[in-house]
Amino acid sequence: MLTPYRVLDLTTERGLICGQMLGDLGADVVKVEPVGGSSARQIGPFYKDQPHPNRSLYWWAYNRNKRSITLDIECDAGRYLLNRLVERADFLLESHNPGYLAERKLGYADLASINPALIYVSITPFGHDGPKATYADSDLIIMAAGGPLILAGDEDRPPVRLSIPQAYLHACADAAVGALAAHHERTSSGLGQHIDVAAQQSVAMATQSNILCAPLGAPENRRISGGVKIAGIDIPLVWPAKDGFVAITFLFGSALGIFTARLMRYICEQGFCDEATRDKDWISFGENLFSGVEPLSEFERVKELVRDFTLSHTKAELLELAVDRGFLITPVTTIAEVVESPQFASRGYFQNVAHPELGESFVYPGSFAKFSASPIEYRLRPPTIGEHNFKIYRGELGLSEHEITELTRAGII
C-alpha cells in the first residue's frame, strides 16, 4: 500500500516497531544502524540462546520488512551521506534523547532545509519539551509515569508490569498513525513536518480512561489480582478453571447485565445455583451493591458459586460454551497455546519467514489485518547488519566500489 515511499529508520531499541508497521504496509524502510549494528541486536532472547547481533529475537520481532545499512552519523562524512539519503526520503523515524540529533545537525530544522517534504518522527520517553523531557527512562518508568502500572498486580504486592516491555510499542503505534496523518496532509500541501510523540502519553491509553478519575471526580480503582477493586468491592475478571484460568466479563449495568443474566441461567440449569439467584436483577446488581441494597456478602456468595461452576470445567469446555451460547468467556492462554491455536491457524495468521543465513524458517506473528485489495506481505526477513550497504550506497547513491571500500576502511559504513 505504501510502496512508493521511503522511510529512513534511525530509531534506537525504543522505536523499532514503528518502521516495521510502515514496512508491513509496504513502505521501503531503510534501517540506518551504527557501524557494528544497532544496540537492539544485543537484547535477548536469542536464537538457540546464542548471543549474536544477527540472532536477537528482539531484533527479529521488530525489524521485518526493512533493509539495513550501517552509517556512522557521529562524523561529517557519515552525516553527508545521511543528508543525501534524506533528499529522497519521505519519512525519517528516530528515538534518540531530545536534542541528540539536533546537536549533530540532524534535527528537524536541519533536514527540513534539505527536504521540506520530509516527515520527521521523534519517539521519546516524555516528549521533546517540558520539565521531564530529559528524564532517564525505561519501560517500567514510562508505565509508572503514564498511569497503567498502578492498576495491575496483586493487592498485597507492588504494582506489576507486563513481562514483555510495552511502553515504546504504544508510542511507536501512535507515531506511525501520526506519520500517516501528516502524509495525508502532505499529498495536498507538499510539505512535511515534525511529529513529537511522548511514550508517557501513549501508555496512558492503557488506563482505560481511568487517568481521568481525578478531573472527573470519580474514585480511583485499586488493583486486585485478576480483576479490579471499584469503590472497595472486588470485581474478579479472571476465574479459575479445572486446568487453568479463564477471563469472564462478569459485570452488570444496562449493557453487560444481559450477558451475566444469560450465564446465570446456564449456571442454574447446571445445578450450581438456585432459581432465586438466577433471577436476580443483574442489570441493577452493580448499582445495588454500591448503594448497599445488595449486601457484599451476597456478591461473595454469587462469586463462590460462579467459581464452583468454572472450576468444574476445563478452559476448552468453557470456551466452547462461550461460542455456542454467547457467554463472555475466553481462556487465559500461554504463549504456546496462542501459537498452536486453531483459530489463528484457520485464518493463516502465523507466517513462516525464511532465514537463509541460518538455513531455516521461523514462525512469525502474521499480518496485523487482512486487506482485500493490497494484502500485507512479508517481503524481507529482519536484515543482518549492513546487509544492503552495497545496494543502497552503490546502487542508489552511486558511490564507486572504491569509495565504498574507503568508507568501510574508515569505519563510516
Binding site: A145, G146, P158, H194, M205, S209, N210, L216, V338, A369
Partner: protein, 405 residues
C-alpha cells in the same frame, strides 16, 4: 485563519461501538476527519455504562470512557433494524470515504450492510471491520470485550508474579493496542485508493494485531520452544528493576538501574555505603542474583519517603525513576500538563467534560479535540440536513418512521 487539520477532507461513517473501535476513530477525528458516529437508540453503547463516571454518577452522558473514545465526533441515533434506516445508511456510505464497524461478525450482513452490499452503493468505499478474533475461523462468532481478547492472546498470563496466579494486565488491553492498528490500516488504504482508485475491505482481528506487541515472546516459543512466563517486575538485563513502597497509602516508586553507573548513583543517593561497597552487587548479574536482598534495602529506604521526592532525587543523578502515578498524580504531573494531556471541553448536558488530548504533536498541522462526545442523537438534524441534504419533509418522515428512536 484556523489551523488546517491534516485529515480535514476525510469522511468516516462509523458504526463502531464500545472501546477498541471508537478509540480508533477518535484518533482520526483529532486529526480532522469528519466522523459520523451511528448509535442505536434501543441498545445503549456499553461504553456509556462504564466508568469512570463524572462526579461518580452513572448516566448516559457521564461516562469518561465514552467521552474519551468519542470526543470530536458527530452523533446520530439510528435503528439499523428499521427499514427506513436503510436509505440513511446508504446515503452516508455514498458520502463517506470509509465505513468502520466493530460488531460481532454477521451483524452487518444481517442488516444488509456488509461490504459486498455497500460497495454496490459506493464502489470506492473502504470498509474496515474490527472484532475480537476476526471475521472467520471457529472463534469468529465469539462475543466479547478486550479483556477476553487479552486473555486469549497471551497478555494476561504474562502479567503478575511467578509464584501466584496471573494478575492479568489491567482491563481490556487489546482495546488499547488495536485502535492504532485500525487507524493506520485506514490511512494506508486511503493512500492506496488515492493512487489507484481502488477501495477495499479490511478484516481486523483485535487479537491478531495485538499479538505484535508480544513479538519477542512469540519468537522465543517458535524458535526456541521456550514458553515465556510472567516474571513480576524483573528484567532480563537491568538490575535493580522494581517498584518500591513510598510514604502514603498505595504510594509507590519505580526505580531502574540500567548499568553499574546507575547503581553507584542509586547507592550514593540512598547514602548506603554498605550496598555500594558490596562486591556481590558490582555487576548486573550479581545484582540480579541477589535481587531480593537489594530490593529489601531499597524498600527500607524508600518506604518513609515521598515518591515524587525520590523521583526528583534519583533523576537529578540520572537514575531512571518515577513515582507510580494514579490519576490524581497524573493530573498534577507538570509534564502531562506541559504536553496538554488533559483537555476540558464544553458539554451540552453536563457542563464541562475533561478528556485526554491528542497523542502525537504535529508541528505544522497539530491535532485538536474539537468538541465533546455527542449525546445520543445530538447531531441528527445537522447530519441529515447539512451532510446528507435532506429537506424538512424527508426528515419528518424519518422521525415518524421511528428509525431515529
Amino acid at each position: 485563519m484556523p489551523n488546517r487539520l491534516p485529515l480535514d477532507d476525510v469522511k468516516i461513517c462509523d458504526f463502531m461501538w464500545v472501546m477498541a473501535g471508537p478509540a480508533s476513530t477518535r484518533i482520526l477525528a483529532d486529526y480532522g476527519a469528519t466522523v459520523v458516529r451511528i448509535e442505536s437508540p434501543n441498545r445503549i453503547d456499553t461504553a456509556r455504562t462504564l466508568g469512570p463516571h463524572l462526579d461518580n454518577k452513572v448516566g448516559p452522558d457521564s461516562s469518561g470512557l465514552f467521552a474519551n473514545c468519542n470526543a470530536g465526533k458527530l452523533g446520530i441515533s439510528l435503528d439499523l433494524g428499521n427499514p427506513s434506516a436503510r436509505e440513511v445508511v446508504h446515503d452516508l456510505v455514498r458520502w463517506a470515504d470509509v465505513v468502520t464497524e466493530s460488531f460481532s461478525p454477521k451483524a452487518m450482513r444481517a442488516w444488509g450492510f456488509d461490504y459486498e452490499s455497500l460497495r454496490k452503493v459506493n464502489p470506492a468505499i473502504i470498509m474496515l471491520s474490527s472484532c475480537l478474533m476476526g471475521q472467520t475461523g471457529p472463534l469468529a462468532k465469539i462475543v466479547g470485550f478486550g479483556n477476553m481478547a487479552a486473555a486469549i492472546s497471551g497478555f494476561h498470563n504474562l502479567t503478575g508474579w511467578p509464584d501466584r496466579p496471573p494478575a492479568g494486565v489491567f482491563g481490556a488491553y487489546t482495546d488499547y493496542v488495536s485502535p492504532r492498528f485500525t487507524a493506520m490500516a485506514i490511512l494506508a488504504a486511503l493512500d492506496y485508493r488515492r493512487r489507484t482508485g481502488v477501495g477495499q475491505y479490511i478484516d481486523q482481528s483485535q487479537a491478531e494485531c495485538s499479538i505484535h506487541f508480544l513479538g519477542p515472546a512469540i519468537l522465543d516459543y517458535t524458535v526456541n520452544r521456550r514458553v515465556g512466563e510472567r516474571v513480576g517486575n524483573s528484567d532480563s538485563v537491568f538490575a535493580p528493576h522494581g517498584v518500591y513502597p513510598a510514604d502514603g497509602d498505595d504510594q509507590w516508586v519505580a526505580i531502574v538501574c540500567r548499568n553499574d553507573d546507575d547503581w553507584r548513583q542509586l547507592c550514593s543517593a540512598m547514602e548506603n555505603n554498605d550496598l555500594a561497597r558490596d562486591s556481590r552487587f558490582a555487576t548486573a548479574s550479581g545484582r540480579r542474583e541477589h535481587r531480593h536482598s537489594i530490593d529489601s534495602s531499597i524498600a527500607a529506604w524508600s518506604r518513609t519517603r515521598d515518591g515524587a521526592a525520590i523521583e526528583s532525587l534519583l533523576q537529578s543523578r540520572g537514575v531512571p525513576s518515577h513515582q507510580v502515578q494514579n490519576s490524581a498524580a497524573a493530573y498534577r504531573d507538570p509534564q502531562l500538563a506541559h504536553r496538554g494531556h488533559f483537555v476540558t471541553l464544553d458539554h451540552p448536558t453536563v457542563g464541562k467534560f475533561t478528556v485526554e488530548g491528542p497523542r502525537a504533536k504535529l508541528s505544522r498541522t497539530p491535532a485538536a479535540v474539537r468538541r465533546s462526545a455527542p449525546t445520543l442523537g445530538q447531531d441528527n438534524q445537522h447530519v441529515l440536513e447539512s451532510i446528507l441534504g435532506y429537506d424538512e419533509t424527508q426528515i419528518s418522515e424519518l422521525v415518524a418512521s421511528g428509525a431515529l428512536g
